[in-house]
Amino acid sequence: MGYITKILGKNKTLSGTCFFTSFLLTLVLVLLVLVFLLINCRFNVVKSRAHMYIIFHENAPSKKVDDVCMRVKSKEWIKSLNLISSKQALNMVEKNMGVKLPRHFSNPLPYSADIFVKPRFLKEKEMNSIKNELLRYSSVEDVLLPSRLIMSYEHSYKHFLSFSLLFLCGFIIIEIAIFLLTGRLFYLNLREDVLTLKLLGCSSEKIKLLLMSGLFLIGFAGIVLAAVTSLGVVVFIRDFIQNLAFLGNSDFLSACGFSLIAVLFNIFVLFLCTLFAVRNEKV
């Protein structure tokens, strides 16, 4: 490694190019992954605002209603349940309409429950199966789903997912091309020295190992710096990110995990490109 840096001494621009190429590509990839994860979390936040209503039978006894609510609360898909008694419902109507109904007015409103489900269950198919499950209870008269909202979310989410995957794939292809071209540039710059070594009888393996280790270590240093920089940035703006996307600690840790995967992926790509960049020319 010492010698490759000495040979590279002739072209600090080249070693700088290799270093900053890997640094920038890694930084951009990590930030892209983080941005997509944040958008995904934001989607979940918006999705979790969608809720459904259970309308109980008009004459359903409160004991039975409580029983249904208890059972529903134990379901895997439930996020929160808010039981609205007929009296509360009447109060809400009065409040919303701005009228005061007379005391002798008989309350026609049934018991109902406002249900929020976990974001990952907010899909048309899942929601319909939840609805059917709820309708099996004898005291439940109807379940109101925000069908149009769910379809709209699903549609947007699909678009976002395919766009982000396509964008990442495109970026990775460009990244591989840039890594390969930088590797070739590195090799071509040292070509004359390589040919000298071959004319003097040095083995191809030794020469290849020397160049590969040089190129890989320069690129690796760039990737490490990018990882440290992005981690520093993320930690620095942690509060802002968490407020922006309502991230919990587990979401934050998984974002760090995905960033680490992106860094490891770049190290792997760098290694592969190093293998292909150094050619065994015969002289």
């Binding site: 010698y3 000495k6 040979i7 590279l8 001494g9 002739k10 004359e192 020295d193 000298t196 070594l197 071959k198 004319l199 003097l200 009888g201 040095c202 083995s203 191809s204 030794k206 020469i207 020397l210 065994n280 015969k282 002289v283």
Partner: protein, 228 residues
């Protein structure tokens, strides 16, 4: 193979364009202890001959035998590289590692050739002194004068301690005193068991050895070395 034969060229023909023959029926035998000088003008085919011995190019006809191995039978490139380990070459344009210093150049090439430190360090010490490179051993090659580069290149080929030494115009950039020092090394014990093949544009009468003239692709022997 006769044991002393290091390089054997038999009836070598070479052309680049299939019209003009650069080499025509060249025969040469370099043995242990031999000093052979090949004299020729520019474009006479000296570099082609050197490349053929290095297996960098192949002749159209003829047989090249290096250290007993027929080069036409070497199928793998790695075998050619292995064979080159028996050869030290002085290139006309030096082919040094420009941004390394003098000492690093010597250490680097020896390490890359897989030689042991105990084998090459004493030689490096010796030739740094003998070729007056001690004062510049930390200087980068790019800052050396052509004469210093030539001396470094010579120190490099001597430190490699190969049985065959090929040198293309080794004295061109050297001062008379440096030429004398190099000739002393070539005449001395260090080169006693080596075969030395020198390519030059003019005759070097101060160095004993067989002289040949390469002209029109053919090699002619010079029998009378007396300048008078």
């Amino acid at each position: 193979m006769v044991e002393e034969e290091l390089v054997l060229l038999e009836d070598i023909y070479k052309t680049y364009d299939r019209v003009n023959w650069v080499l025509q029926g060249v025969n040469l035998c370099l043995k242990k202890g031999d000093v052979i000088k090949i004299i020729g003008d520019e474009g006479s085919g000296k570099s082609t001959l050197l490349k053929i011995i290095l297996c960098s190019i192949y002749p159209e006809r003829g047989r090249v035998n290096i250290m007993g191995a027929d080069t036409s039978e070497l199928k793998k490139y790695e075998h050619i590289l292995l064979l080159r380990q028996y050869i030290s070459v002085f290139f006309e344009n030096f082919r040094l590692f420009e941004y390394m210093n003098v000492l690093d150049n010597l250490l680097f090439i020896n390490k890359m050739r897989g030689r042991k430190k105990t084998a090459f360090m004493p030689l490096i010490e010796r030739f740094l002194s003998q070729l007056d490179l001690r004062d510049v051993f930390k200087k980068k090659v790019i800052f050396l004068s052509p004469g210093e580069k030539a001396r470094l290149s010579l120190a490099m080929i001597f430190s490699l301690d190969a049985p065959i030494i090929l040198a293309d115009e080794p004295f061109r950039c050297l001062s008379p005193s440096s030429v004398g020092k190099v000739i002393d090394i070539l005449k001395g014990d260090f080169c006693k068991d080596k075969g030395i093949l020198l390519f030059s544009g003019k005759e070097l009468s101060s160095l004993e050895g067989k002289s040949f003239v390469l002209n029109g692709g053919k090699l002619y022997g010079i029998y009378n070395q007396d300048p008078g």
